[in-house]
């Protein structure tokens, strides 16, 4: 669940805000409002199922697609539903090496989701710190950070990532770094905008009057109140990170062949599309599509639910 959990700090700092729902905890209201939309709940259920399937892939998958002993070349490029050489039925068909597509997709989801989550969390942490600092200190810091952000956002993400990967080479660590570099600016911009509107509120003034340190005001008081819009952005940005990673891997500049994310699976199957063996490319594509659409639906609805205009 992506609702901001009410840590003790958040609850203390958010006093002026949480008066809205009386004795009801804010996160309860979020859960209630969220469950009003059937589409969003359905998307969330599918999303949770996908995440669980990715986590427990080794237990669910009929075979380990990267254990060469379990592969049989006689089974290569079987159509969906065909029984293999060993008698097992491949419901989603097999690829050029005789790999079960269903298992390959589950393992691919793990990599795609993992890369997206790690990259986005790091980008959130960096962007948040930069944005908060820009808003709170203002002046030179603000100008410096925002110039950098403006510069960054004037180049399309795919271009920035491509330039970085062209210089760095392929690999999980490199693509995560590229995604962080691409995304931190978006977080920084939103964090700054939110923090600017929060900076002049009474609770910050109160904290300053109490003589609290800058770090404590920034991270203990300002930060929890800036979280809701950033959580929404975080969800949506994970989807775009996964899409970008898939695109880069598809182009052959992202992950290396030993780390088959969904994008790489689609790329491997692309050559067979032309000869009518659609399943090698299409099923991982559908998995990617469901994942991205579900994340976006959940994110969109979270935006409505967490919108401060609806809270007050």
């Amino acid at each position: 669940m992506n609702a901001p959990s009410p840590s003790p700090v958040a609850a203390k700092a958010a006093t002026p805000k949480s008066k809205s729902a009386g004795s009801e905890a804010p996160w309860r209201r979020v859960v209630r409002d969220f469950s009003r939309s059937r589409i969003a709940v359905a998307a969330l259920v599918v999303l949770v199922a996908i995440i669980l399937a990715a986590i427990f892939a080794p237990l669910i998958a009929p075979q380990n697609p990267y254990d060469l002993r379990s592969l049989n070349i006689m089974d290569s490029r079987l159509a969906p539903g065909e029984a293999g050489f060993t008698g097992a039925t491949y419901w989603l068909g097999t690829d050029g090496q005789g790999r079960d597509m269903f298992s390959a997709i589950l393992y691919g989801l793990r990599i795609s989701l993992g890369v997206g989550l790690i990259a986005c969390s790091a980008a959130l942490a960096i962007g948040l710190s930069a944005g908060l600092a820009a808003a709170y200190f203002g002046g030179r810091t603000d100008t410096l950070v925002m110039r950098l952000v403006d510069l960054h956002l004037s180049f399309p993400p795919i271009l920035v990532a491509l330039i970085l990967l062209a210089v760095l080479g392929r690999g999980v660590d490199k693509i995560i770094l590229a995604l962080i570099v691409v995304q931190w600016a978006t977080f920084a911009r939103v964090a700054r905008a939110t923090a600017l509107s929060e900076r002049d509120r009474e609770y910050v003034e109160a904290a300053e009057t109490l003589g609290l340190g800058r770090g404590r005001i920034l991270f203990g008081h300002l930060l929890p109140n800036c979280l809701p819009p950033l959580m929404v952005l975080f969800t949506v940005e994970i989807a775009s990170a996964i899409a970008l990673e898939a695109t880069l891997s598809f182009l052959g500049v992202g992950l290396s062949a030993t780390q088959p994310s969904l994008g790489l699976l689609i790329a491997n199957g692309f050559q067979f599309v032309l000869s009518g063996q659609y399943w090698i490319s299409v099923f991982p594509g559908i998995a990617l599509l469901i994942l991205i659409v579900c994340i976006n639906l959940v994110g969109d609805h979270l935006r409505d639910v967490l919108n401060p205009r609806n809270i007050r």
Partner: protein, 324 residues
């Protein structure tokens, strides 16, 4: 005028910073000798090239030599093609620009009527379908849409060829595949693929524009005058929603050129984007360096033009020096 000069200075400064970044990225992160010298060269040849390229000199000296060479248009030669890297890139630029222009036209020609329809009849099944389609156009990865297009229109239906640029015709001294029938059938799928994202954007802009303009007095007056619905829509509404759409689409031209990388590699379109992907795969570093510098310069110029155009259209921007 002051604004223009300041903006030009910023662009120059940016170009300088980016050249420094690319230089240190390529020259300092890896071993420059590995990057610039063909790995199959012999040891003697290697040493000769290292002195010739000045790789034994200090960093700042090398950087100035690098800048001086770029200023003279010398980016080194491609390992793969054994020709000057810059020439290779410039040779492929027309194909990319042609694709981007075709995509932009498609985005407007299809997106504008669709968006206006969705704005005029928001409750109709057609209007809802158009909006749902635009959400899919936004959220699905471009390369996945390309594969679907190839599967449906090239493999199953067999209407269009899968790859290549086709026959190139010449008209008024411009060589383009838009001028031959064969070329048109080759450009149709890639241009449509590249256009999808922008099409979704145009649909949204047109729809919200129509919904904003429709309740205005001048539209109601035009209707009250007894003008035909066709005239109200085609003249009064269209004219008022067109300016923001054209501005936004025109200004995102750079994005089209960047995204052409994906489309070009899938449809084997012989443009700059395919060249850079091929070069990255084959580790043809001089071409990579040259492409990075060229594309960064293109973007700096596009951003500069966009900013200047904005300040022409909306003079308020000029007064407020710092963009927020």
């Amino acid at each position: 005028m002051v604004y223009i000069i300041r903006r030009l200075m910023q662009a120059l400064f940016l170009a300088f910073v980016m050249s420094l970044l690319v230089f240190s990225g390529v020259y300092a992160v890896g071993n420059p000798a590995d990057i610039l010298i063909d790995p199959e060269a012999t040891q003697a040849e290697r040493l000769r090239l290292i002195t010739q390229l000045g790789l034994d000199r200090p960093f700042h000296e090398q950087y100035f030599v690098f800048l001086a060479n770029i200023a003279q248009g010398d980016f080194g030669s491609s390992f793969v093609y054994n020709r000057p890297a810059l020439g290779l890139i410039l040779e492929r630029m027309p194909a990319t620009i042609e694709l981007a222009v075709a995509a932009m036209i498609l985005a407007i020609v299809i997106g504008l009527p669709a968006g206006m329809y969705a704005g005029l009849r928001p409750k109709s099944a057609g209007g809802q379908a158009i909006m749902a389609g635009s959400i899919l156009g936004f959220s699905l990865p471009n390369f996945w849409q390309a594969i679907m297009l190839i599967m449906i229109f090239a493999v199953i239906l067999g209407w269009f060829p899968v790859s290549g640029r086709g026959q190139v015709g010449e008209f008024l001294g411009i060589r383009s595949s838009l001028f031959t029938l064969n070329g048109l059938s080759h450009i149709a799928l890639p241009a449509f693929n590249l256009a999808i994202g922008h099409m979704a954007l145009v649909v949204r802009l047109a729809r919200s524009g129509v919904r904003e303009v429709q309740p205005q007095d001048y539209i109601r007056f035009a209707r009250a005058k007894g003008l035909s619905e066709k005239r109200v829509v085609m003249v009064h509404i269209l004219r008022n929603i067109l300016i923001p759409i054209v501005t936004v689409v025109g200004m995102s031209f750079g994005g089209l050129i960047a995204f052409a990388v994906v489309t070009e590699s899938i449809f084997a379109w012989p443009g700059m984007g395919k060249l850079i992907i091929d070069s990255i795969r084959m580790l043809d570093r001089p071409v990579i360096v040259a492409y990075l510098i060229v594309i960064v310069m293109i973007f700096i110029v596009i951003n500069l033009v966009v900013d200047l155009l904005y300040s022409l259209i909306d003079p308020r921007i000029r007064l407020d020096g710092v963009r927020r």
